[in-house]
Amino acid sequence: MTATYTYPKYAYRRPPELDGPSARRGVVVVGAGPVGLAAAIDLAQRGVPVLVLDDDDTVSVGSRAICYSKRTLEILDRLGCGEPVAGKGVGWKVGKVYQGSELAYQFDLLPESGHRRPAFVNLQQYYFEEALVNRARALPALEIRWRHKVTHVAPAADGATLRVATDDGEYALACDWLVVCDGARSPIRRLLGLDFEGQVFRDRFLIVDIRMAADHPAERRFWFDPPFHPNQSVLLHRQPDDVWRVDFQLGWDADPEAEKQPERILPRLTAMLGPDAHFEIEWASVYTFQCRRMQRFRHGRLVFAGDAAHLVSPFGARGANSGIQDADNLGWKLSLVVAGRAPEALLDTYDAERVAAADENLRNSTRSTDFITPKSAVSRTFRDAVLALARRHPFARRLVNSGRLSVPAVLADSPLNTPDAASFAGAMVPGTVAADAPVTGACGPWLLDYLGGGFVLLVFGEGVDAAAARALCAAPVPCRVVQVGGAGGADREVIGDAEGLVAARYDGRPGTCYLVRPDQHVCARWRAFDAAAVRAALARATCRPPET
């Protein structure tokens, strides 16, 4: 328990299956952590009834994942719960890296303005989960069952049958689709004996949350070999409620139980913060970490997401943030498949896209780990050489790796993309998350307010006539038209490019069109509207055969 937070207790209810027949479910999500909740909210918002099963009855115990990326906040905005997370969280974008007591270099993760959300917010995981639970409870299509533990899973060609244990006994439950978000130790992955390949790192870290009134700016600060903790690294983050996260590298030989004791922690903190600092310990944990993933995230009617599917080191905040992107990627695809509007093959692209993203996260996380915890004398020598050079030479600052912080995956190799036929400047290549920008319009002051949900054709100027716009809206997989500038009728939304940044970020000229997926990734673009090309790109992005 902590002094600054009171854990909610969500009521267990006796399930009706114990007293009567068990109705088959469409989609069951296992795990009411950040990823399971995000997936369930996304599905429910799309009209897919979802049952969430969780073996506990509260939110995350301890602050755990605390750094939530801009992309995570944008996804939460789409899921209707961005504001409580962004509002409570401490925004930051500057990181400072020290060697010894000297600043080696600093970075700014979002140097430009014109984005709704900051590069990161820090927020205790329990607040994050509570915001998602509150949103989930407002959705009639979503039911959460607390203290319902899945003890057995029998996969079948058309779904799965579960056994669920409760305080009142066990019951059977059949479903068409099972979304597995039961965390790093994934009991379901283990029950099914599925592979989980990778590396375990031989190092231990102590994380301590302390309550302390201090006016340090909200920046990420990282020390290599500081005088207060020689030969190891230390990371410091600010959280809300005057809570600070300190992360001490301990080495492999540290005794995890002993290191968790206050009498061991206090001298470390005093050495760091000075003898006059006033603080109280909120929570402490000693962890090791692993970099590994399942070979495939889809196993027939079972789909794995988040830590259950992939694990990275914490350097770079790529755990929870990548899991939220998994949910973002899965929601629209599964809802189209459940509705019979796309073939099951669309879910293989969840696997392809998120496995590629997981590999990118694993690569970055492993590289950071090798820099922070060198595994050989020569590796340590090169690390120290980089840090020494970084003080004088700009090139070496690019080599300093205290964690490459989470950025949204660019799905450049996705089979859902239509390759460019014209040339474009800027970053918005097919596969990229659509960049935000300030706009004027009826649905809000940010471009991302208008993208996502369904497919959107973002058009610069009046190049799409009314009949074409209505045809797109009426297609089997509908596509809304959002028009930048000009006049329009009821068949489209018209927005103003408030600061010219939409045109700048999308290289938009009169006639330019972008096809944006329901998860806000760009999947095709053209220099002029062509109804047949848009229909073909929509078919491709949903794995449907092209129209004849």
């Binding site: 020598t381 050489a385 980089v386 020494a388 070496a396």
Partner: protein
């Protein structure tokens, strides 16, 4: 694309070699290792070309078997 130059390219090779050894005068083995690492990084950045760097890494490792 640039390739790794392995033909003579230093005008006064003996001068360079002397300077290289001189750069390590008075250093412990650990300090020398650090100086060498810094030198590698400075030169690598100067070269920049990924293909040349890859070829240099391969040439340096040639005939050195894993222990």
């Amino acid at each position: 694309m640039a390739t790794l130059v392995t033909d003579p390219n230093i005008a006064a090779p003996d001068d360079f070699y002397e300077a290289l050894i001189e750069a390590h005068r008075g250093l412990t083995d650990a300090q020398s290792a650090l100086v060498n690492a810094k030198l590698v990084l400075l030169l690598a950045n100067h070269i920049g070309d990924a293909g040349v760097l890859q070829a240099a890494l391969a040439a340096a490792r040639e005939d050195v078997a894993s222990a």
